[in-house]
């Protein structure tokens, strides 16, 4: 099974990342960490929501196999090696050099043409990459060879079953076997069964098998050679002209070249490379070798030395200087620490009760149960029960309930009139002539609070501070109240801290249950809530 790693399914990024390598690393020997560094430096990739040195910091793990950036760049390196754009230096697989061919690719105006020829030349085995499986495969060339016989289309699963898992596609008889196999698959219409069999025999899960096709599909689709149509990759006009080119080519692989009894290999390699990629014809060479190999003169030998030979041979053939210095990274500040709190929350504080408020509540309160509750757990249970049927509450009822709850907790809370644009917040707390805006999300709008609510809470504070400066105190929070906290609070927590550090604005988040529990607990324990903690709340309020 030929496995293509998947560092990202976007052709444009694939080329951009390589061009950046060529700019920064062309004159050096480099390793995967250097590749990570120059890619991050150019913001071409991110990790855990960060770019720059923070991305490296968040990605770097002791166990390199779990380091996302390192692995992503490792996958890029495997593909670039398959294409002959970079080479591992002799004796160590994870130290690389950019090849003269890679350099041509990075600078070329006709990248697409060179790239298409590169993928046609991908074949295993070769001297550049060691594979465990004993296969003889030239996948992209084979796809073009079989495509006219299978209605100019191929599906992802057909590609897995007939091409990537094929052991030998060399020669016309093997190509015919592949065509027959695809025709049979279509005839039997039991592709899932075939995939299951392959999955069991190769011990690779079906999803993983399918993931191996992401990059080949991206190569074929994003180059415009094929287009997606009802679960098939269908040959396009551009693909058809490449098909004509493929038909002009001779499928030469490493063993063929080795079988040529000729001492002047260097000349041979240089000329077939120049002819294939740059169309530079050397008549003397064609006369000499083509007739000896019994190849018609109009044909092109499909063989790229940079994809097939090892670095020592290439250095010798192309007079390529491989004795280069190791790349030296600018020092990255390893002390850059994650300055985010995992979760910012405030525990509810209650004080002795001074004054009891008597608001008319819009929902009946289980007052008897609350008063007879003996423990905090009883109040928790009563609160949870009370919250159960609120999930069906629409905007108007939910907003009214929130207003009631804040008022019961001793605040002066007032909802905005619906449709009043000047007051963009849904509700407000009036406190010592200042306004604390409240953004409310009813359960019918969204059950779990999210980032959108934070954005609105931030906007509320900015509008308040700009339009009603006298009523705004930057030390007071802007509140977001909704039905439930999200299961994973990390995204919201990080954004709350980003906003605080950037704009010095505090956002407090309260869920319905916490408000209900606070209210019921004040009744049960004859206490009142510590107001300041709500007015200056940052992050989530917790019971």
């Amino acid at each position: 099974m030929l496995r293509f790693p998947n560092p990202g399914s976007n052709f444009e990024s694939f080329i951009k990342v390589f061009k950046n390598f060529n700019d920064k690393l062309n004159n050096y020997i480099f390793n995967l960490d250097d590749m990570v560094f120059v890619t991050i430096e150019k913001n071409l990739t991110s990790s855990s929501g960060y770019t720059g040195s923070q991305a490296i910091h968040h990605s770097t793990k002791k166990d390199r196999s779990r380091d996302p950036l390192y692995n992503q760049l490792k996958m890029y390196s495997e593909l670039y090696r398959l294409l002959g754009w970079i080479k591992s230096i002799e004796g160590t697989a994870l130290k690389f050099l950019i090849t003269p061919f890679g350099n041509e690719i990075a600078k070329a105006n006709n990248v697409l043409e060179l790239f298409i020829k590169s993928i046609l030349c991908i074949s295993v085995p070769n001297e550049g990459i060691v594979t465990k499986s004993n296969i003889n495969l030239r996948p992209f060339y084979t796809i073009f060879k079989v495509i006219p016989y299978i209605e100019n289309k191929i599906s992802r699963d057909e590609m897995i079953l007939s091409i990537l898992s094929c052991k030998n596609d060399y020669g016309s008889s093997n190509i015919e076997l592949i065509i027959d196999k695809i025709k049979n698959i279509r005839k039997r219409n039991k592709i899932d069964l075939n995939l299951n069999e392959l999955s069991e025999s190769s011990k690779i899960k079906i999803n993983t098998l399918r993931n191996y096709t992401r990059v080949p599909i991206m190569f074929l689709r994003d180059t415009g050679l094929f287009e997606n149509k009802s679960n098939f990759l269908v040959l396009t006009k551009e693909g058809n002209s490449v098909l004509n080119f493929v038909n002009k080519c001779i499928d030469f692989r490493l063993p063929d070249i080795k079988n040529i009894p000729e001492e002047k290999f260097n000349e041979f390699y240089i000329e077939i490379y120049e002819l294939l990629f740059f169309n530079r014809k050397n008549k003397l060479f064609i006369d000499k070798y083509f007739s000896r190999l019994k190849i018609p003169k109009e044909k092109v030998i499909l063989f790229n030395p940079f994809q097939q030979l090892n670095v020592t041979k290439l250095s010798n053939i192309f007079s390529w200087n491989v004795n280069k210095q190791n790349y030296k990274r600018d020092l990255i500040d390893k002390n850059t620490s994650n300055n985010y709190e995992k979760e910012i929350k405030t525990k509810l504080i209650f004080n002795p009760l001074n004054k009891k408020t008597n608001q008319k509540f819009t929902k009946s309160i289980p007052i008897k149960e609350i008063l007879s509750a003996k423990t905090k757990n009883d109040i928790i249970l009563i609160s949870k029960k009370f919250c159960e049927d609120i999930i069906k509450y629409k905007k108007e009822n939910f907003y009214a309930l929130i207003e009631n709850l804040f008022n019961e907790l001793g605040f002066n809370c007032l909802n905005s009139r619906y449709g009043t644009n000047a007051e963009r917040w849904d509700s407000k707390i009036l406190y010592n002539n200042k306004i604390i805006p409240i953004e409310i999300k009813s359960p019918t709008e969204e059950i779990f609070l999210n980032i959108k609510g934070l954005r609105q809470a931030l906007e509320n504070k900015i509008i308040l501070h700009s339009r009603y400066k006298d009523f705004s105190d930057i030390n007071h929070s802007t509140l977001l109240v909704g039905f439930k906290y999200p299961n994973k609070r990390s995204d919201m927590t990080r954004l709350i801290q980003d906003i605080k550090k950037t704009f010095d604005i505090k956002i407090g988040v309260i869920d319905f249950y916490t408000l209900v529990f606070s209210f019921f607990w004040t009744i049960n324990s004859s206490q009142q809530i510590e107001k300041e903690q709500i007015l200056k709340l940052e992050g989530f309020l917790e019971k």
Partner: protein, 162 residues
């Protein structure tokens, strides 16, 4: 502008690719957010005048007021997470056209400038097209030309209405 009218028929990805191409014509080579990358919230970013970074929030519909909100979030993330100083972040709101004169959008742009001192620059498809057909780039303009607010809700460099 015909091409813009056909935008509705495109997929989200195609729309973004289209806008990317248009913006590249006026001198900004932008990187689009990878689809499915939930960590990266910013629609697009680019280098700006060598030492600055531009962030773009793109709205294809009529939800104009959501754009400044999104930009504030992007700005905070870019500043705090990516360690880019505030002065070096240039936020752009990309809209299909300018909102009506009565829209809250302009007032919010002014509020944000007043409280945070951040200027959000607005580029409509027509403004981009106008810069493009006059063979200019965004760098040929003073950025204030794109600061569309309640006091100044029209582009001065475009004679006809928008």
């Amino acid at each position: 502008m015909k091409a813009y009218r056909k935008l509705n028929k495109l997929t989200d990805k195609q729309k973004l690719e289209f806008v990317k191409k248009q913006i590249s014509f006026i001198g900004c080579d932008i990187n689009l957010k990878r689809i499915g990358d939930n960590n990266m919230r910013i629609d697009a970013t680019s280098n700006f005048n060598n030492n600055k970074k531009a962030i773009f929030s793109i709205e294809f519909g009529n939800d104009y007021v959501s754009v400044p909100r999104k930009i504030l979030e992007d700005f905070a993330v870019f500043h705090n997470r990516y360690n880019i100083i505030k002065e070096n972040i240039v936020p752009f709101s990309i809209l299909k056209n300018l909102p009506s004169k009565r829209s809250e959008y302009y007032q919010i742009i002014d509020d944000i400038k007043d409280v945070t001192n951040i200027s959000i620059y607005t580029l409509t498809f027509k403004a981009i097209e106008n810069i493009k057909i006059n063979r200019k780039t965004i760098y040929d303009f003073n950025l204030n030309e794109f600061f569309i607010s309640k006091k100044n809700y029209r582009y001065r460099f475009i004679k006809n209405n928008l």
